[in-house]
Subunit: 388 residues, 2 copies
């Protein structure tokens, strides 16, 4: 298989937007194309992550419309990948494999999503479509409820009193909001304190408002190229070193929600393909849809020992400048979470970090980065390792 | 690249069903797995076509749930592909490429969809999500309207009076319904006459009720294997010889709806990869969502000269036993059209035909088959060529 590099990235500001999914995508895509020193017509295939377009905009089969909007020719295969909140990373992994295999030399991968237009009740309903419709969503459990259970299970399993765990969870929010202030594309760009988090209204006990990521609008895009093509286009190629994807079923079939089986499988695949270990990773963008989600993800990814992820936050180990910077972009928590775009936005951040282009939030000397994207009730997990 | 074969197929009966998408998929998948002489645990990845699951069942991210239902392990990547009515074929093409490249040796590809529970008004609304939401669906044009325009354009372009064209379109319906009587899995298994078609109520002039395919429920699945693995599993491997996929944008950007650019591109890719020409093809399953759709597809695929597709029907050239058998299964028109399952069901029929297992509807001596699947307003086109 051939080496594959990211040669250009683009991203809209995340947050409420009046633009359509197509318009946001085009904005991000044209930035990525321009930054790749190519012309749009050079793109040989399009891979798009989008989760809720049918529901939100009445726009389901969006991929060929995006291709047309960009002016791509009729012989450009254009696919929409729907893996809930992991849609964007699912698209990147598939694109990587096809370029690696030699099917394409230069492809565009992106994600786009509108969420804010729905408002919270409708958005909650829409997001719940990513869970199991038979035994979960229709019986009243939505994502805050699932991660509230994860927090309770974590507290019990490791004997960490809920009050202490909540304070540490709040520190995740504080860290990611702080990082967000240094990211001009972040949805939230305002620091918060532990006190603010703990004063927030309860969404699903023990999760309070600021333990939860927002609904956001936005798009992100990257251009992937085979090594040979990449070297002609840029002197800063960022290579995809490993990919992994796992799957797990409805919650009732999952043994331990604090150790998501799909993530363990995906991470093992990605580390194995890259030939690296967790301690080699300098910078991570992981799926902090809720503060507790960051803690359990950091453990299943091998960044911290099981049961120590919340202490690690307290010790500042996941801050920029800490042992491993987690979510320097602000993460889903502060950068925002436009579902289908999220995985691609994680890639955007890691590529920018590895290129040393992140200004105030730069992780110094970062050479190896990891993305972690979750779709559904711990159901679809994708990990991708990037290196220079 | 390695050769890739279909080693097993499965399909539910198409038509109204009380089962969920997951249940229907499992039924088709287990038949395909059983027929492949493998165990479920041998499956290394899952590729699923599904278009409307979020809308119809509140079940969007269905792929990992299907993997779990089958008992696949957590390290099985499971993806949902959404390319409207072409979703199933999009999934097959992607799976083929990844097996061909050596990423997997044995994978399951399927499609599943529930439509009938919506009823016609809601289904029409849901299907319209596959068109452009900005300039088409929200302005009142739905799929029957689009293909009614195609019929008018075709009549004008080739100087075929509408009355004559309608009679020939009716003959497409008559042929496909006749074929459906020989397919025990078809939604409709009753012969019709030209008179019945021409007496039907008008859906979108000149299309009458029986010019339109039904909304159906159903699932289909196939198992793909690398050549080496396939030879150990079956003495009747059916190889995927070529694949192609094209894209086109909103209708207003398409030059000539009677010659869909995305299909022309997809067919060229598929014929090119297979190294065959249209006249080599013995049996075709193509996207007859409307009778006129079969006529224009048969031309863009090179089976008949442009402008002669309707005459060819009249001369019986597309019947079983004719020059090239088109839709021996009954097609979307009579076999039914459970969106995400349709492309996979086309593959099911072609594989059965090439294996000589189609009983009364067998195309004698069939050695090379073609599938043609359309998604959206002539937007996503996939062609796949199968051979023994």
């Amino acid at each position: 298989m051939r080496k594959v590099a990211v040669v250009g990235v683009g991203m809209t500001k995340f947050g409420p937007s009046e633009k359509t999914q197509v318009e946001m995508f085009a904005e991000a895509a044209l930035e990525a194309i321009d930054g790749s020193n190519i012309e749009t017509k050079d793109i040989q295939a399009l891979f798009v992550g989008n989760a809720l377009g049918g529901f939100v905009e009445g726009q389901a089969n969006i991929a060929p419309l995006l291709a047309s909007e960009l002016g791509l020719s009729a012989d450009t295969p254009s696919n929409r990948f729907e893996g809930a909140c992991a849609s964007g990373s699912v698209a990147i992994r598939d694109a990587f494999m096809l370029v690696s295999a030699g099917y394409h030399d230069l492809v565009l991968v992106g994600g786009t999503e509108r969420c804010t237009v729905m408002g919270t009740p409708m958005a909650t309903r829409a997001f719940a479509m990513a869970s199991d419709s038979r035994y979960e969503a229709f019986n009243g459990i939505t994502f805050p409820g699932v991660f509230a259970m994860v927090a309770h299970l974590y507290s019990q399993k490791y004997g960490i009193p809920l009050k202490k765990l909540k304070e540490r969870m709040a520190l995740v929010a504080v860290k990611n909001h702080k990082n967000g202030t240094m990211n001009p594309l972040a949805h939230f760009q305002k620091e918060i304190t532990v006190e603010t988090v703990l004063k927030g209204f309860v969404v699903a006990d023990p999760l309070q408002l600021l333990d939860c990521c927002p609904f956001s609008d936005g798009a992100a895009a990257i251009v992937l190229a085979s090594e040979e093509v990449a070297k002609k286009l840029t002197d800063k190629p960022v290579y995809i070193r490993g990919v992994g994807q796992g799957s797990a079923g409805p919650l009732y079939r999952q043994k331990d929600l604090t150790v998501p089986a799909a993530r363990v499988a995906a991470a093992k695949q990605a580390y194995g393909m890259a030939g690296v270990k967790p301690s080699d990773i300098d910078v991570v963008e992981l799926h902090d849809c809720f503060t507790i989600a960051e803690i359990v993800a950091s453990e299943a990814l091998g960044l911290f020992e099981y049961g120590t992820g919340s202490e690690a936050v307290e010790r500042g180990e996941s801050q920029i400048g800490g042992r491993v910077a987690i979510n320097p972009s602000g993460g889903l928590k502060a950068k925002g979470h436009p579902i289908g775009a999220t995985g691609v936005a994680q890639a955007y951040e890691i590529v920018k970090q590895l290129r040393g282009e992140c200004g105030a939030r730069q992780v110094k000397g970062a050479k190896l980065g990891l993305t972690d994207t979750l779709g559904g009730d711990l159901a679809t997990m994708v990990n991708i390792i990037y290196g220079i």
